[in-house]
């Protein structure tokens, strides 16, 4: 029995790896789609902005001393008390939206990518183990998945808050706890089918160590659906963080992520102060769309079953 992996479930013949440089082939295949290439460029730019935010942003939006509520809710293009122009306006605390978005990208990407990565590692390992070892291990892991799926993320976040306090890393922890089950389920589904294949049997006959079979043989063949889930989950993690912030459980208010900026500006949507929530929303949208464009193409390229 198995859960279904998002993306591809039907098994195909084992991968027939070409001897010629796989990396070059991968690159050229990836570049076939110009949209995906564009997405990759955008992600790179966004990542650079996030990394170098503290050098290029006109203001440090996390330093309360640099903010002035008298500059609060200024329209885009106004010149503030500190002497520079707020090109994208300010939020209720007098935080320059442009700086806020640059720094916020950093938090959102850390939270989104970080939690997706850790959850993926944890989830995929557990999923592989469940499928490969089977028996009691499988039972325990899969019932944990059941438990986790029915546990509301809000309650998880509240408990983390109660146990660990506030902080960006604690949000990552909460998201990992919420998300690992998705990966585990996906990987286990595929791995259950794959582990009966000849190449695994061959590896077993060679008496290779279990971890080697798991990670060198089984895992690569479970990758395509995993990547689909992962790219969607990065987006989902960022959106989930926004929702947690909306409910007051997200990152600290003085270090807003994109999601928290949106949630803060949400209240001002009805009163025409669109920029507080609109620009971070656009930034979030662009980020997630490009991540997924790249993810889509990656999946197609990496999926051996789509090879002509």
């Amino acid at each position: 029995m198995s859960e279904v992996a998002i993306g591809g479930t039907t098994p195909a013949a084992p991968r027939q790896d070409k001897v010629e440089t796989p990396l070059r082939r991968f690159v050229s295949e990836f570049c076939e789609s110009r949209i995906a290439l564009g997405g990759l460029v955008v992600i790179t730019i966004i990542a650079l902005i996030a990394i170098f935010a503290s050098w290029i942003a006109p203001q440090n939006p996390y330093d309360l001393a640099q903010l002035d509520i008298m500059d609060g809710r200024m329209e885009p293009g106004t010149v503030g008390g500190a002497g520079f122009t707020y090109w994208l306006g300010t939020d209720d605390q007098g935080r320059d939206m442009m700086s806020g978005i640059m720094y916020g990208l950093r938090i959102s990407l850390t939270v989104g990518a970080g939690s997706a990565l850790i959850a993926c590692l944890v989830g995929a390992s557990l999923g592989l183990m469940a499928a490969y070892i089977g028996g009691r291990t499988d039972t325990v892991i899969m019932r944990l998945v059941d438990l986790q799926l029915s546990f509301p993320s809000i309650l998880v976040a509240l408990m983390i808050l109660a146990f660990l306090g506030k902080g960006v890393m604690n949000v990552v922890v909460a998201l990992v706890i919420v998300e690992w089950a998705y990966y585990a389920r996906t990987v286990r589904g595929t791995a259950l089918v794959e582990r009966r294949r000849e190449y695994i049997e061959a590896a077993q006959c060679l008496a290779l160590p279990t971890y080697r079979i798991l990670f060198r043989h089984l895992l690569p063949n479970c990758l395509p659906p995993l990547i689909v889930v992962a790219t969607m989950q990065v987006a989902r993690a960022i959106a989930l963080e926004a929702t947690l912030s909306f409910l007051g459980l997200g990152v600290p208010i003085t270090e807003p992520s994109l999601g928290l900026l949106i949630a803060n500006g949400y209240e001002y949507m009805l009163s025409g102060k669109y920029w507080i929530s609109f620009y971070p929303g656009i930034a979030l949208l662009i980020t997630i769309v490009s991540i997924n464009l790249v993810g889509d193409q990656l999946r197609d390229v990496l999926n051996p079953r789509l090879k002509k």
């Binding site: 029995m1 949209i35 089977g134 509240l158 999926n303």
Partner: protein
């Protein structure tokens, strides 16, 4: 098979037990319900009285034992806030959530399947690329933001739809005319007013699911089209429509239905944001309100029900899957 089912049932019991234990400890760690529920000007004597009244004066393990003893007799406790049996509160709210969740899933299938099919059959058409790019929108914007935008546009600006709430409801028997509308289990989809109230929250909930269905369908179609049996069918000269709808469609429905099934589960359980933005009186709103005031009996009962639901869904998925795909066999596995 029977052995397998019995074993799963026993496991389910353990999961439910674990859930209740985690919730007990978790809620205990988060805070003290009395601090939250009590009037700010209550003095110390009143606070102590409330602690005793809610049974919170006992050590935690004793509270848990009391809970277990009652649960075995079918009593999951009374809400701290409403002073009504937790189970009854949840069941009262269930129809509202069920119809919303099923409505959203229905929309997702009706919109997502054709679009995904098209995008999968013509992966290089520009319309397909638009569909795929558009489907990303479905899960990149936070639900609360989209919800408010919909209210602003369709209720405030255009005035086409009511902004919030559940509207007029009716029972099934009342709908047929066998009894007055107001008696029995109430559904909004049976009245025009109720339906118009349902549209926006259902669409809001459906957005993510539509994207999911589009993507699953497209991926499935693209893979299946390259399968040998589809190639044979085409070579045999079967009409493209027959190939698509009989051979391809049948094959991709398995993943779509399973994932959508699980998605339906989580919608029933946690449409928290949508329900609070649209003031929809369902279970999602009940659980978030209960968490906010640490109404432990409701939280525990709720999550126990939800975990049962997920276990059942997963069990059904496993069973269907092993029936449909003989490569995966039950009896070899411990689960």
């Amino acid at each position: 098979m029977t052995v397998y089912l019995v074993r799963r049932l026993i496991q389910a019991l353990f999961v439910v037990l674990a859930m209740s234990l985690i919730v007990f400890v978790g809620v205990y760690a988060i805070g003290d319900p009395v601090e939250i529920l009590i009037s700010p000007d209550a003095d110390q004597i009143e606070r102590e009285r409330a602690i005793v009244a809610l049974g919170l004066d006992l050590p935690l393990w004793q509270q848990y034992l009391v809970f277990l003893t009652n649960a075995v007799q079918g009593d999951l406790g009374r809400s701290f806030v409403f002073n009504e049996p937790a189970l009854r509160l949840i069941l009262q709210r269930m129809p509202a959530t069920l119809e919303l969740a099923f409505g959203a899933t229905f929309l997702a299938l009706v919109i997502g399947l054709p679009l995904g099919l098209y995008a999968g059959l013509r992966p290089n058409a520009s319309a397909s690329k638009t569909i795929m790019a558009g489907s990303i929108l479905g899960f990149s914007l936070p639900t609360f933001w989209v919800g408010l935008m919909m209210i602003m546009v369709f209720a405030v600006q255009l005035g086409w739809l009511p902004s919030t709430g559940r509207g007029t409801t009716c029972s099934v028997l009342g709908f047929i005319g066998l009894q007055p509308c107001s008696s029995g289990v109430q559904w909004s989809f049976l009245t025009i007013d109720g339906l118009s109230h349902m549209v926006m929250p259902a669409v809001n909930l459906a957005l993510f699911k539509i994207s999911l269905v589009i993507r699953l369908t497209r991926a499935g179609v693209r893979e299946t089209m390259l399968m040998d049996y589809v190639k044979f069918a085409r070579a045999k000269g079967l009409s493209p429509a027959r190939v698509t709808f009989v051979h391809v469609f049948k094959n991709i429905m398995i993943p779509v239905v399973t994932v959508v099934g699980l998605e339906l589960g989580s919608t029933i359980a946690f449409s928290v944001v949508t329900e609070s933005v649209f003031a929809w009186p369902g279970m999602g709103k009940l659980i978030i309100d209960s968490i906010n005031v640490l109404d432990r009996p409701v939280i525990v009962a709720y999550l126990m029900i939800i975990v049962m639901m997920f276990i059942t869904i997963n069990l059904v998925v496993d069973l269907t899957y092993s029936l449909l795909d003989p490569r995966v066999r039950l009896e070899n596995k411990g689960t």
